[in-house]
Amino acid sequence: MVNDLVVDLSRAQFAATALYHFLFVPLTLGLTVLLAVMETIYVTTGREIYKQMAQFWTRLLLINFALGVATGLTMEFQFGTNWSFYSSFVGDTFGAPLAIEGLMAFFLESTFIGLMVFGWDKMSKAQHLIVTYAVALGSNFSALWILVANSFMQHPQGAEFNPITMRMELQNFGALFFNPDAQSKFVHTVLAGYVTAAVFVCGISAWYMLKNRHLDLARRSFRIAAVFGMLGGAGVITLGDALGYVGAKVQPTKLAAMEALWTSEKAPMAFNAIAFPNQAEQKNYFTVQIPAMLSILVTHSLDGVVPAIDQLQVEAQERIRNGIPAVQAMERLSANPRDEAALAQFKAHGKDVGYGFLVLRYAPQGDLSKITDADIARAARDTIPNVAIVFWSFRIMVAFGLLMLAYLVLATLMTLSNQIERQRWFQWAAVLMVPVPFLACEFGWLVAEVGRQPWTVNEMLPTWLSASTHSVAYMVFSLSGFILLYTAFAIVEIYLMLLFIRKGPEEPGAGHAAAAGLPSAGRKLAAQ
């Protein structure tokens, strides 16, 4: 049995690396598409300023891309180093989208990004434009496959658990790829990336306007980013609703936690706008509710009922009782894979084997026959994630999302009427908005991943069973090392970003070396 502290440290490390990684990813997702927009205008209008814009924003993309790659690779390694039982359990299924991401999407992106940076003078305008679109497609396809993998964890479909090999074996790749959670999560996440890049570009452009520098670039960049971001903002909210609608069906416990819905109610159900959940007492303090809004938001109907935590806990208890014989059958099969009676018992109870694993931690010496009703009740309580974190993370993310939509609509109106240069207060607001989408993305991932607890694979594999058997000292060393290293990465990224933003765009005609941000000596060498 893995030490609980090791599990918690492993979770903390994965959370830290994922949150750091996702500081860089959304900007790459959106900026690649914005670059494609700018270059499309360059190719269609022939105006050199758009080429200069594309080259300038490419420089910032490169800094961000490098850090995104560096922080992303370690996450994939962590599945093996810190979550070895998880990797063994789902590797047959989980490995496929990760491998496809590496071979198809990442190679597409990273190969064409080199062509994009160094190919300005070596390709025709149309060819270079195709390359830029290829980079945008590659980055979005990377997100697609990673999110297909993550959605398998949220709603495992397309695979069946084999009690003899103790693995989730891939049965239907189509079901894996077209997982409804994957679809809504992918579109929601990439649109969040589009909004992140739009707010970032608007903010930097506004900074230039405030400093009365590079106004040609700034005004045009602001225009494109504001319009693009406004559409993205509307889309991300729409897809957030879709994700919640899907989530209500596939992860009702996560949804109940998101809404701090402790007790069952009749329709139409009220929405808890504000609440202070108490996990131990399973109730909320000081709630501010909006009548009927929960039924409307989650079920799109006034008659819709959302299952509450009390009901879900009762169902969990039933599933735990049903899952215990499945785990017992599995133990017999591990001793004798040809035990027909054990196989039949597993088939009868196998759909709840995950719930059997959940209560296994309370079994004295791992003997499930000694489980008591109190143990089952404890395990049922374990199926509820940390409601306060999930509840407030969701609301902060939504608040930021609505704030960004309001800001981007106003930004669009101002830029379309060419008022933006006169409104210094709005330029300052644009600068201050830059961190908002990054924070919204981080809180969104807290909802997704903390809300999935206590499972690594929803209703199949509990987190406490998934970790590697490292020592506490090893985990403390590893976690500290990652936090220090990634903090250094983040500082380097911010420093380089600020350096190149202060430097501004190169003058027109400086060539591909300038686009790559090489110092003047490098430029001379490149020109030879």
Partner: protein, 83 residues
């Protein structure tokens, strides 16, 4: 020309088939594909509109006056006949 037409129609048929299949199995994936394309086109249009507004402002500007683009937004299009 005829061959190009046949090829273009074949590509259109393939795109429609792709859309139908993807719409059946992965409607949100299709929505991403179409939606991103739409967003790119609208953003490109916004950029092109910016240039049109700049050109109109330059044409409306008297020599020696500073560029005030917002007045060009309200000013009649240079191509519209003056009544």
């Amino acid at each position: 020309m005829f061959l190009r037409y046949i090829i273009a129609m074949a590509l259109a048929a393939l795109a429609i088939l792709f859309g139908i299949i993807l719409g059946d199995y992965g409607p949100w994936y299709l929505s991403w594909f179409l939606g991103t394309g739409f967003m790119v086109l609208v953003a490109v249009s916004a950029g092109v509109l910016f240039e049109a507004q700049e050109d109109a402002a330059r044409a409306a500007r008297d020599p020696g006056e500073s560029l005030d683009v917002s007045s060009a937004v309200d000013a009649p299009s240079p191509t519209r006949p003056v009544r």
